[in-house]
Protein backbone atom coordinates (compact mmCIF):
# COMPACT_ATOMS: atom_id res chain seq x y z
CA UNK A 1 0.00 0.00 0.00
CA UNK A 2 1.28 3.49 -0.85
CA UNK A 3 2.84 5.39 1.99
CA UNK A 4 1.66 8.99 2.00
CA UNK A 5 3.19 11.41 4.47
CA UNK A 6 1.25 14.67 4.44
CA UNK A 7 3.68 16.28 6.86
CA UNK A 8 6.78 15.73 4.79
CA UNK A 9 4.74 15.63 1.57
CA UNK A 10 6.21 12.37 0.39
CA UNK A 11 4.64 9.45 -1.41
CA UNK A 12 6.28 6.04 -1.64
CA UNK A 13 4.83 3.41 -3.95
CA UNK A 14 5.76 -0.19 -4.69
CA UNK A 15 5.79 -1.39 -8.29
CA UNK A 16 6.33 -5.08 -9.04
CA UNK A 17 7.53 -6.34 -12.41
CA UNK A 18 5.90 -9.74 -12.93
CA UNK A 19 6.08 -12.33 -15.69
CA UNK A 20 7.47 -15.72 -16.71
CA UNK A 21 11.14 -16.63 -16.40
CA UNK A 22 13.51 -14.78 -18.68
CA UNK A 23 10.86 -12.39 -20.02
CA UNK A 24 12.99 -9.33 -19.23
CA UNK A 25 11.87 -8.15 -15.81
CA UNK A 26 15.38 -7.77 -14.42
CA UNK A 27 16.52 -6.29 -17.73
CA UNK A 28 13.95 -3.51 -17.33
CA UNK A 29 15.34 -2.60 -13.93
CA UNK A 30 18.93 -2.85 -15.04
CA UNK A 31 18.24 -0.49 -17.91
CA UNK A 32 16.51 2.02 -15.63
CA UNK A 33 19.37 1.74 -13.16
CA UNK A 34 21.88 2.45 -15.89
CA UNK A 35 20.03 5.49 -17.19
CA UNK A 36 18.77 7.29 -14.09
CA UNK A 37 21.21 9.80 -12.51
CA UNK A 38 22.85 8.80 -9.20
CA UNK A 39 20.93 11.35 -7.18
CA UNK A 40 17.60 9.96 -8.37
CA UNK A 41 18.16 6.33 -7.51
CA UNK A 42 19.50 4.10 -4.76
CA UNK A 43 21.63 1.00 -5.07
CA UNK A 44 20.10 -1.85 -6.98
CA UNK A 45 19.90 -5.04 -4.96
CA UNK A 46 19.74 -8.25 -6.95
CA UNK A 47 19.24 -11.54 -5.14
CA UNK A 48 20.08 -13.96 -7.90
CA UNK A 49 21.41 -17.45 -8.46
CA UNK A 50 24.88 -18.18 -9.80
CA UNK A 51 23.38 -18.35 -13.27
CA UNK A 52 21.88 -14.88 -12.87
CA UNK A 53 18.29 -15.99 -12.52
CA UNK A 54 16.37 -13.92 -10.00
CA UNK A 55 16.18 -15.97 -6.82
CA UNK A 56 14.12 -13.71 -4.60
CA UNK A 57 13.89 -10.22 -6.04
CA UNK A 58 15.67 -7.31 -7.64
CA UNK A 59 15.06 -4.02 -5.91
CA UNK A 60 15.63 -0.48 -7.16
CA UNK A 61 14.55 2.65 -5.25
CA UNK A 62 13.84 5.70 -7.44
CA UNK A 63 13.07 9.35 -6.75
CA UNK A 64 10.80 10.77 -9.38
CA UNK A 65 10.88 14.32 -8.10
CA UNK A 66 7.84 16.42 -7.34
CA UNK A 67 4.44 15.38 -8.63
CA UNK A 68 1.50 17.55 -7.52
CA UNK A 69 3.64 18.96 -4.76
CA UNK A 70 4.56 15.56 -3.38
CA UNK A 71 8.08 14.12 -3.51
CA UNK A 72 7.42 10.83 -5.18
CA UNK A 73 9.53 7.76 -4.52
CA UNK A 74 9.06 4.48 -6.24
CA UNK A 75 10.34 1.10 -5.13
CA UNK A 76 10.71 -1.16 -8.12
CA UNK A 77 10.82 -4.92 -7.57
CA UNK A 78 11.04 -7.90 -9.87
CA UNK A 79 9.98 -11.42 -8.96
CA UNK A 80 11.57 -14.76 -9.91
CA UNK A 81 9.77 -16.16 -12.93
CA UNK A 82 10.20 -19.90 -12.41
CA UNK A 83 7.18 -21.83 -11.17
CA UNK A 84 9.38 -23.36 -8.47
CA UNK A 85 9.76 -20.02 -6.66
CA UNK A 86 6.07 -19.26 -6.19
CA UNK A 87 6.36 -19.02 -2.39
CA UNK A 88 8.88 -16.20 -2.59
CA UNK A 89 7.13 -14.59 -5.56
CA UNK A 90 4.00 -14.27 -3.44
CA UNK A 91 5.97 -12.50 -0.70
CA UNK A 92 7.38 -9.90 -3.09
CA UNK A 93 3.91 -9.16 -4.42
CA UNK A 94 2.62 -8.23 -0.99
CA UNK A 95 1.79 -4.56 -0.71
CA UNK A 96 2.26 -3.84 -4.41
CA UNK A 97 0.63 -0.61 -5.57
CA UNK A 98 1.02 -1.46 -9.24
CA UNK A 99 2.15 -4.32 -11.46
CA UNK A 100 4.00 -4.32 -14.76
CA UNK A 101 3.39 -7.61 -16.50
CA UNK A 102 6.39 -8.27 -18.73
CA UNK A 103 5.31 -10.73 -21.39
CA UNK A 104 7.79 -12.58 -23.58
CA UNK A 105 6.72 -11.96 -27.17
CA UNK A 106 8.19 -15.23 -28.44
CA UNK A 107 5.55 -17.61 -29.84
CA UNK A 108 6.99 -20.55 -27.89
CA UNK A 109 6.57 -18.65 -24.63
CA UNK A 110 2.83 -18.01 -24.96
CA UNK A 111 1.88 -20.77 -22.55
CA UNK A 112 4.41 -19.51 -20.02
CA UNK A 113 2.93 -16.03 -20.31
CA UNK A 114 -0.56 -17.36 -19.66
CA UNK A 115 0.57 -19.48 -16.75
CA UNK A 116 2.35 -16.52 -15.22
CA UNK A 117 -0.75 -14.33 -15.63
CA UNK A 118 -2.90 -16.93 -13.94
CA UNK A 119 -0.33 -17.19 -11.20
CA UNK A 120 -0.45 -13.43 -10.73
CA UNK A 121 -4.23 -13.52 -10.42
CA UNK A 122 -3.99 -16.36 -7.93
CA UNK A 123 -1.37 -14.69 -5.76
CA UNK A 124 -3.15 -11.34 -5.77
CA UNK A 125 -6.35 -13.09 -4.74
CA UNK A 126 -4.55 -14.79 -1.88
CA UNK A 127 -3.46 -11.39 -0.65
CA UNK A 128 -7.13 -10.41 -0.56
CA UNK A 129 -6.91 -7.89 -3.39
CA UNK A 130 -9.33 -7.52 -6.28
CA UNK A 131 -7.01 -7.60 -9.29
CA UNK A 132 -9.40 -5.41 -11.26
CA UNK A 133 -8.57 -2.56 -8.88
CA UNK A 134 -4.81 -3.09 -9.04
CA UNK A 135 -3.09 -0.67 -11.42
CA UNK A 136 -1.43 -2.68 -14.16
CA UNK A 137 0.26 -2.24 -17.51
CA UNK A 138 1.43 -4.92 -19.92
CA UNK A 139 4.77 -4.80 -21.64
CA UNK A 140 5.26 -6.96 -24.72
CA UNK A 141 9.01 -7.41 -24.55
CA UNK A 142 11.45 -8.76 -27.13
CA UNK A 143 9.61 -7.12 -30.01
CA UNK A 144 13.04 -6.69 -31.62
CA UNK A 145 13.33 -10.43 -32.37
CA UNK A 146 12.75 -11.75 -35.93
CA UNK A 147 9.10 -11.55 -36.97
CA UNK A 148 8.73 -15.29 -37.48
CA UNK A 149 9.63 -15.99 -33.86
CA UNK A 150 7.30 -13.57 -32.13
CA UNK A 151 3.65 -12.61 -31.90
CA UNK A 152 2.67 -9.10 -32.94
CA UNK A 153 1.41 -6.73 -30.25
CA UNK A 154 -2.20 -7.11 -31.40
CA UNK A 155 -1.95 -10.89 -31.21
CA UNK A 156 -0.44 -10.72 -27.74
CA UNK A 157 -3.12 -8.30 -26.71
CA UNK A 158 -5.83 -10.71 -27.87
CA UNK A 159 -4.19 -13.65 -26.14
CA UNK A 160 -3.22 -12.08 -22.81
CA UNK A 161 -4.96 -8.79 -22.12
CA UNK A 162 -8.24 -9.91 -20.52
CA UNK A 163 -8.19 -6.86 -18.35
CA UNK A 164 -7.89 -4.29 -21.06
CA UNK A 165 -4.78 -2.88 -19.42
CA UNK A 166 -2.58 -0.38 -21.21
CA UNK A 167 -0.04 -2.19 -23.37
CA UNK A 168 3.38 -1.17 -24.60
CA UNK A 169 5.90 -2.79 -26.90
CA UNK A 170 9.47 -3.03 -25.77
CA UNK A 171 12.98 -4.21 -26.39
CA UNK A 172 14.21 -3.95 -22.81
CA UNK A 173 17.73 -5.05 -23.63
CA UNK A 174 18.24 -1.94 -25.72
CA UNK A 175 15.98 0.28 -23.65
CA UNK A 176 13.05 0.66 -26.04
CA UNK A 177 9.80 0.99 -24.20
CA UNK A 178 11.35 0.71 -20.73
CA UNK A 179 10.82 4.29 -19.56
CA UNK A 180 7.50 4.50 -21.36
CA UNK A 181 6.36 1.49 -19.34
CA UNK A 182 7.58 3.02 -16.10
CA UNK A 183 5.80 6.29 -16.88
CA UNK A 184 2.62 4.44 -17.74
CA UNK A 185 2.50 2.46 -14.51
CA UNK A 186 3.48 5.55 -12.48
CA UNK A 187 0.55 7.44 -13.98
CA UNK A 188 -1.85 4.58 -13.19
CA UNK A 189 -0.65 4.28 -9.62
CA UNK A 190 -0.75 8.00 -8.94
CA UNK A 191 -4.16 8.31 -10.56
CA UNK A 192 -5.53 5.63 -8.29
CA UNK A 193 -3.91 7.26 -5.30
CA UNK A 194 -5.52 10.61 -6.03
CA UNK A 195 -8.88 8.93 -6.63
CA UNK A 196 -8.67 7.13 -3.28
CA UNK A 197 -7.70 10.27 -1.41
CA UNK A 198 -10.51 12.20 -3.11
CA UNK A 199 -12.93 9.48 -2.02
CA UNK A 200 -11.52 9.55 1.49
CA UNK A 201 -11.94 13.32 1.69
CA UNK A 202 -15.54 13.10 0.47
CA UNK A 203 -16.37 10.22 2.85
Amino acid sequence: MSLVNFTTREITCKIVYYGPGRSGKTTNLQYIYGQVPDDRRGRMVSLATQTDRTLFFDFLPLELGSISGFTTKFQLYTVPGQVYYNATRKLVLQGADGVVFVADSQIRQLDENLESLQNLHQNVLEHGIDIRTLPMVMQFNKQDLPRELILAPQELDDALNFRGAQTLSADALHGQGVFETLKAISAEVLRKLSESSATARRG
Binding site: G21, T51, R53, Y84, Y85, T88
Partner: protein, 156 residues
Amino acid sequence: MTTTTVVEAWTEQPLVRFVGQSSARIVVVMTPAGQVLAQHGFTRAVDLMSAAALGAAIMASSGALAQQVGESTFGALYHAGQRHGIHLAACNTPRGRLIVLTVFGRETSIGLVQVFFEEFVIALRQAAPVEEPRGPVLPADFENELNSSLATLFRR
Protein backbone atom coordinates in the same frame (compact mmCIF):
# COMPACT_ATOMS: atom_id res chain seq x y z
CA MET B 1 6.56 -42.36 9.23
CA THR B 2 8.84 -39.61 7.99
CA THR B 3 11.62 -40.75 5.74
CA THR B 4 14.88 -39.50 4.46
CA THR B 5 15.09 -39.20 0.68
CA VAL B 6 18.05 -38.08 -1.37
CA VAL B 7 18.75 -36.97 -4.90
CA GLU B 8 22.51 -37.38 -4.54
CA ALA B 9 23.42 -40.63 -2.78
CA TRP B 10 26.49 -39.32 -1.01
CA THR B 11 24.34 -37.12 1.21
CA GLU B 12 22.34 -39.98 2.68
CA GLN B 13 24.61 -41.30 5.41
CA PRO B 14 25.62 -37.91 6.82
CA LEU B 15 21.97 -36.81 6.75
CA VAL B 16 20.62 -39.89 8.51
CA ARG B 17 23.26 -39.51 11.19
CA PHE B 18 22.56 -35.80 11.66
CA VAL B 19 18.82 -36.41 12.00
CA GLY B 20 19.41 -39.18 14.53
CA GLN B 21 21.83 -37.17 16.65
CA SER B 22 20.08 -33.83 16.60
CA SER B 23 16.48 -35.14 16.75
CA ALA B 24 15.63 -32.67 14.02
CA ARG B 25 12.11 -32.93 12.61
CA ILE B 26 12.93 -31.54 9.18
CA VAL B 27 16.22 -31.20 7.35
CA VAL B 28 16.68 -29.91 3.80
CA VAL B 29 20.06 -29.87 2.05
CA MET B 30 20.02 -27.62 -0.99
CA THR B 31 22.02 -25.48 -3.35
CA PRO B 32 21.97 -21.70 -2.91
CA ALA B 33 19.38 -21.59 -5.71
CA GLY B 34 17.01 -23.73 -3.66
CA GLN B 35 17.50 -26.97 -5.57
CA VAL B 36 17.06 -29.82 -3.10
CA LEU B 37 19.76 -32.49 -2.83
CA ALA B 38 18.38 -34.37 0.16
CA GLN B 39 15.62 -34.04 2.69
CA HIS B 40 14.10 -35.55 5.80
CA GLY B 41 10.63 -34.94 7.11
CA PHE B 42 8.59 -33.75 4.13
CA THR B 43 5.92 -35.90 2.54
CA ARG B 44 4.65 -33.44 -0.08
CA ALA B 45 6.71 -32.00 -2.91
CA VAL B 46 4.86 -28.66 -2.80
CA ASP B 47 5.74 -28.15 0.86
CA LEU B 48 9.37 -29.01 0.25
CA MET B 49 9.48 -26.67 -2.74
CA SER B 50 8.17 -23.73 -0.72
CA ALA B 51 10.51 -24.41 2.19
CA ALA B 52 13.52 -24.69 -0.12
CA ALA B 53 12.66 -21.52 -2.05
CA LEU B 54 12.06 -19.58 1.15
CA GLY B 55 15.22 -20.92 2.82
CA ALA B 56 17.33 -20.00 -0.18
CA ALA B 57 15.71 -16.56 -0.32
CA ILE B 58 16.39 -15.91 3.38
CA MET B 59 20.05 -16.84 2.92
CA ALA B 60 20.32 -14.59 -0.13
CA SER B 61 18.69 -11.68 1.72
CA SER B 62 20.93 -12.17 4.77
CA GLY B 63 23.97 -12.25 2.52
CA ALA B 64 22.96 -8.96 0.93
CA LEU B 65 22.34 -7.43 4.36
CA ALA B 66 25.71 -8.71 5.57
CA GLN B 67 27.42 -6.95 2.68
CA GLN B 68 25.61 -3.72 3.53
CA VAL B 69 27.06 -3.79 7.06
CA GLY B 70 30.52 -4.81 5.93
CA GLU B 71 30.46 -8.54 6.72
CA SER B 72 31.38 -11.04 4.03
CA THR B 73 28.59 -13.38 5.08
CA PHE B 74 26.70 -14.50 8.15
CA GLY B 75 27.50 -18.00 9.47
CA ALA B 76 24.09 -19.15 10.55
CA LEU B 77 20.60 -17.95 11.36
CA TYR B 78 18.46 -19.11 14.21
CA HIS B 79 14.77 -18.40 14.53
CA ALA B 80 13.11 -19.30 17.83
CA GLY B 81 9.42 -20.11 17.66
CA GLN B 82 6.86 -21.21 20.21
CA ARG B 83 7.02 -24.87 19.31
CA HIS B 84 9.80 -25.05 16.75
CA GLY B 85 13.16 -23.55 16.06
CA ILE B 86 14.76 -23.05 12.66
CA HIS B 87 18.48 -23.22 12.02
CA LEU B 88 19.64 -22.07 8.60
CA ALA B 89 23.29 -22.19 7.63
CA ALA B 90 25.54 -22.49 4.59
CA CYS B 91 28.65 -24.59 4.21
CA ASN B 92 31.31 -25.05 1.56
CA THR B 93 31.90 -28.56 0.27
CA PRO B 94 33.80 -30.02 -2.70
CA ARG B 95 30.36 -30.28 -4.34
CA GLY B 96 29.95 -26.51 -3.97
CA ARG B 97 28.23 -24.23 -1.50
CA LEU B 98 25.26 -25.86 0.20
CA ILE B 99 22.50 -24.58 2.47
CA VAL B 100 21.03 -26.67 5.27
CA LEU B 101 17.64 -25.87 6.75
CA THR B 102 16.92 -27.62 10.06
CA VAL B 103 13.60 -27.47 11.88
CA PHE B 104 13.50 -28.85 15.41
CA GLY B 105 11.11 -29.13 18.32
CA ARG B 106 11.37 -28.83 22.06
CA GLU B 107 12.79 -32.34 22.44
CA THR B 108 16.17 -30.91 21.43
CA SER B 109 17.78 -27.47 21.53
CA ILE B 110 19.60 -25.00 19.31
CA GLY B 111 22.77 -25.78 21.25
CA LEU B 112 22.59 -29.45 20.30
CA VAL B 113 21.59 -28.72 16.73
CA GLN B 114 24.60 -26.42 16.36
CA VAL B 115 26.97 -29.00 17.81
CA PHE B 116 25.74 -31.77 15.54
CA PHE B 117 25.50 -29.45 12.55
CA GLU B 118 29.26 -28.92 12.78
CA GLU B 119 29.76 -32.67 12.64
CA PHE B 120 27.28 -32.88 9.76
CA VAL B 121 29.31 -30.36 7.75
CA ILE B 122 32.50 -32.35 8.31
CA ALA B 123 30.75 -35.53 7.19
CA LEU B 124 29.32 -33.82 4.09
CA ARG B 125 32.75 -32.50 3.15
CA GLN B 126 34.27 -35.95 3.50
CA ALA B 127 31.54 -37.66 1.47
CA ALA B 128 31.07 -35.06 -1.27
CA PRO B 129 32.30 -35.71 -4.79
CA VAL B 130 34.29 -32.93 -6.38
CA GLU B 131 32.02 -30.60 -8.34
CA GLU B 132 32.56 -30.94 -12.06
CA PRO B 133 32.84 -27.70 -13.99
CA ARG B 134 29.44 -27.01 -15.48
CA GLY B 135 28.67 -25.41 -18.79
CA PRO B 136 26.26 -22.46 -19.07
CA VAL B 137 22.79 -23.43 -17.87
CA LEU B 138 20.02 -22.96 -20.41
CA PRO B 139 16.78 -21.39 -19.14
CA ALA B 140 14.75 -24.53 -19.81
CA ASP B 141 17.37 -26.72 -18.13
CA PHE B 142 17.34 -24.57 -15.00
CA GLU B 143 13.64 -25.08 -14.41
CA ASN B 144 13.95 -28.77 -15.29
CA GLU B 145 16.75 -29.28 -12.79
CA LEU B 146 14.69 -27.70 -10.03
CA ASN B 147 11.71 -29.87 -10.79
CA SER B 148 13.48 -33.14 -11.50
CA SER B 149 15.09 -33.19 -8.07
CA LEU B 150 11.62 -32.94 -6.54
CA ALA B 151 10.44 -35.78 -8.74
CA THR B 152 13.35 -37.95 -7.61
CA LEU B 153 12.67 -37.23 -3.96
CA PHE B 154 9.01 -38.13 -4.22
CA ARG B 155 9.49 -40.86 -6.78
CA ARG B 156 7.06 -39.41 -9.31
